[in-house]
Symmetry: C2
Subunit: 284 residues, 2 copies
């Protein structure tokens, strides 16, 4: 068994699914959980997601070979500050956060000597949240981005990579800044856009919402995602997102121009381009 003890800091959808997956693959003898909500932790223990829990992250992290940060990403730094003193020598710290960039350097800087952090981001979110939606197979066949820096410990990179591989994920390695540019485009902006789309309809007339067909439901599904989680993500990656909003606004300006000019050729060209690109990533 590769790990004696794993501590999961934040037992929500991702943390609980991670616990179930680790247990299913037999990667760990003891799984400890930390969270703010004791009822939730109790439920997680009853369901066999964790073996023990505590409301003190520092105590929960003691003796862990691997510590997984899976709270909302805005809480990582404070959490690491509270726990760093109790990390055991040789421990590997990782996370499942959707933002990396500067945060990776800040977490790195908090690591005691002999404790190594390597960032991770399993591409396996959902519009659902909480342990009721947890699923041992959440990470199987999903990409997981691992974001080492040139200073990362080679052994810790190997440990984190091997762990995600063992859970069935396809690991892609990427620098923290590159990660944030990619996910601003394919995740953070789309979430903001789903929020904006549904609020636009409601601004005009909320009664229109009941006429949305499957296309509208698909397009706005992620607007049901947790505001607490997504507020943090968007703020922490705001520079990349702000740039992308400008690009999107230019696209909308072009579409408006084509509509006003009844320029069906340019309009169809934009649509054809998008269709080809969308078909390129499969029908799912």
């Amino acid at each position: 068994m590769p790990f004696g003890k794993i501590t999961i800091l934040g037992v929500g959808l991702i943390g609980a699914s991670f616990g179930l997956a680790v247990r299913k693959e037999g990667l760990c003898a003891h799984i400890a959980g930390f969270g703010r909500n004791e009822e939730n932790l109790k439920k997680a223990k009853e369901r066999g997601i964790i073996d023990s829990y505590g409301l003190d992250p520092s105590a929960a992290s003691e003796g862990a070979d691997l510590v997984m940060l899976s709270t909302p990403v805005g809480n990582f730094l404070e959490l690491v500050r509270r726990c760093a003193g109790s990390f055991k020598k040789g421990a590997v710290v990782t996370d499942a956060g959707s933002v990396k960039g500067g945060l990776v350097r800040e977490i790195d800087a908090l690591m005691p000597s002999g404790v190594h952090y390597v960032g991770g981001h399993p591409i396996a979110g959902s519009d659902r949240s909480g342990i009721d939606s947890a699923n041992a197979e959440l990470f199987r066949n999903a990409k997981c981005i691992v974001t080492p820096t040139p200073d990362s410990d080679a052994g810790a990179i190997r440990t984190v990579t091997a762990m995600w591989n063992a859970l069935g994920s396809q690991v892609v390695t990427m620098g923290p800044e590159a990660h944030d540019r990619v996910f601003a485009a394919v995740s953070h902006l789309p979430h903001l856009l789903a929020y904006a789309m549904i609020n636009t309809v409601a601004d005009v007339d909320p009664s229109y919402l009941e006429f949305g067909g499957q296309g509208f439901r698909d397009m706005t599904r992620i607007a049901a995602s947790s505001p607490e989680i997504w507020r943090d993500i968007c703020l922490m990656n705001r520079d990349n997102i702000l740039e992308l909003i400008l690009v999107l606004q230019e696209k909308l300006d072009s579409l408006s121009r084509y509509l006003r000019a009844a320029d069906s050729v340019s309009l169809e060209k934009e649509m054809e381009r998008a269709r080809t690109l969308r078909e390129g990533i499969g029908q799912g």
Copy 2:
């Protein structure tokens, strides 16, 4: 059997599904099809979707008790102009187009004496198109908007309404202009936005697309919709869409402001509002 002959002008996803549904419910003795592509019509006949077909819409419409317009909406007027002379007295003409508004009056004006048009719009599209995706159950439990005007024939309204009810749809009656305002918001703008979103990513770096998770795939699924169909729809409803793009741009401006100011309270409020609205229309 309510209808002796039904003619379907345009045997794509919607026309073919309509044929299958009408046949399954035993609403019609003979179903004729018209289309531009003889291979497609042959396939439709082989699969029992239609009983006969022709490449001349006027000949195909002769003797029909009900004529269904289900080509791309941009072709409706030309098609009605070509066929109007061969519509039989007492025939009901309807359509499955996604735009109504002025088009309804223009089609109305082309009806010969004793032939009555009432518009319809089954909310049952898909990112797929063509008869290979046709499905006799496409309209079951879906809303179908029927868009009479004050001048519409009461008998024709009843016929069209009863027909969609017989196919399992929930009929909602709405004026043509109201229809176009509603569907600009919940269908036409979302389609444009899906196209814009995916093209935005590609403008920045097309290689990012492979990192899109389920949320990105859901949100951009409708970008795979037929450009020919959606070009027409967007142009024909452009005034409503242009107004909505402005509302959406304002929403994006606000989100940008919140991000720049690190205003987490306002950001979370927008997200919370969208989440509540999205949850109000169900998880599907």
